[in-house]
Amino acid sequence: MRRSRWKESEIEDMLRELPKLKDDRTKAEVFARIHDKKKKKHWIPLFAGVASLFLMVVLASSLIIEKKGTTNREGSGSSGKLSLSESNEMADLERQDASNKENLSEDKQENQEFSSNQAKIESKDKFSEMEPRKGEKDKTFEQAIYQEDLKNASIITMGVPDDQMNFIVPISIKLKHYNESDTLNQLVNQMSDIDEAQYGLSDYFPLDIKISQGNDTTTAHIDFPEKSQLLDEDTLFLHSMEETLSYNNIEKMTFSTEGKQGARFAHAGYLKEVDIPHQKIAHTFFTKGMSPLQGSLFQVIWVIGTLRRRCKLEKGRRTSREFHLQSRMT
């Protein structure tokens, strides 16, 4: 074996013999590279600092705004609870939601006592409720109209489809000056005035039809223009008109197209006249809920009216026929 043992001194000598190594770069080159490196190093933390500052500002401002929003929400929620007891004027949406929840649970309890039939959703009585959408400033909204409110006024009711087009929701509007002989004109006026969006309903009215009085006071005559869209969407239209006219003492509606008798509906076929069915005694309660898929959705809780039911309602805060939830002073 070659060089089996090394002396430490030999190792030391060999280490000293290791060659001297030199950096081939010039001084200027090294200097320039140091400057480049310094610049790079300088800008990255600066950029990071600016970015973090920006993020902080954005997050802080969003937090402040959120906090402000929550405070408002809490405030309105507490005032809503107070107004639930007896107040009829509940205009704020939050308060309305709170009241709906209470009413909902109340009615659910009552439903246990009476027979309910969900298959008859179409047969609704006028006991319905709508949420007003305007703010507190609008004092013209009322939760309900009682008979004593109608001493110097009258009401007109129209059926408005909800925003999902599933239900026709009756809206009662209080009129100061009302001539019963002029019901249809008033109806047409209200149709053009009504702002469905504030009740959370679809923008359905006004319709491109002419409504006039028919042969007698209990008949309404509806004239369609040629190729009216309503002729295609006839199911909704007919339900809406039945709902609307049934509340205004109209028993029959007749149709014409451009003055010619009869109208050709896409689904209902050719119709000259339609009898408006009598109102079934049922109590329908509309609340605005949340759909997991589509957002807002009307929920309908209703019961078939019975004598017991009516009596119970009359004992309570709400009455039967005289009770028109959601109205507007015009």
Binding site: M1, R2, R3, S4, R5, W6, E8, I11, E12, M14, L15, R16, E17, L18, P19, K20, L21, K22, D23, R25, K27, V30, F31, R33, I34, K37, K38, K41, V57, S61, I64, I65, K68
Partner: protein, 219 residues
């Protein structure tokens, strides 16, 4: 809310202007001084420091980068240099710290989490090429160059500082911030380790050399 934002913007603008002003004054004032410091240090120690870092890292590019890093650190801390040790040992100690930082960065997350686990990296790792200056020397020098790589960082530091850079025990102890006796002990152990490595290496070589004549005999 709007007032708050306006106020915040004003404050931000004032602070930015102030900082910018300070930075400009500092840069203008210190720029010339720092340049002269660099030129001075370069003339005195550049090749020494470069050589030290090269023997520590065994890679030319890495050594070049780390030397630059040394200058940056030196210039940052130059005003704080108290003169307790010599300028030379101060430079060396900075160079050593820079090198150790480089080794730490080289260590991957696996090594940090499982420091004792061998990921077979020793087998897979490519050896750094021997520099030209070493390659032209005899086998023994080349062997000792390879053995240097297998010592611990502390042992290597002592060996390089003492025998390649030619520093005294005192200077080495200043660079490493150790006591002189620790330097001596580490130096002794390092030499012992190199000796053993050299013996191992020569044993293998001897075995290899023995094989060649056998083959020749057959021919």
């Amino acid at each position: 809310m709007w007032k708050l934002t306006e106020f915040y913007n004003k404050i931000k603008a004032e602070v930015c202007n102030f900082c910018l002003g300070l930075t400009t004054i500092f840069m203008n004032g210190c720029g010339e001084m720092k340049d002269s410091v660099f030129h001075d240090l370069y003339e005195k120690y550049h090749q020494e420091i470069y050589q030290f870092i090269f023997y520590m890292t065994k890679n030319r590019e890495t050594a070049e980068d780390l030397v630059q890093e040394v200058y940056i650190r030196v210039m940052k801390a130059y005003e704080r240099f108290e003169g307790k040790s010599s300028e030379k040992t101060w430079m060396y100690s900075i160079a050593r710290n820079v090198t150790i930082d480089h080794f730490r960065k080289q260590k991957g997350w696996k090594d940090k989490i499982f420091p004792n686990f061998d990921w077979d990296r020793q087998l897979l790792k490519d050896e750094e090429p021997i520099p030209e200056e070493v390659a032209i020397k005899n086998d023994e020098i080349q062997d000792i160059y390879q053995c240097l790589n297998r010592c611990t960082t502390n042992q290597r530091s002592v060996i390089i500082l003492r025998y390649i850079q030619g520093l005294s025990i005192t200077e080495t102890s200043e660079v490493l911030n150790w006591s002189e006796s620790k330097v001596k002990t580490t130096q002794h152990r390092a030499l012992k380790a190199i000796k053993k490595l050299m013996e191992d290496l020569s044993g293998k070589e001897g075995h290899r050399i023995e094989k060649i004549p056998l083959e020749r005999k057959r021919n």
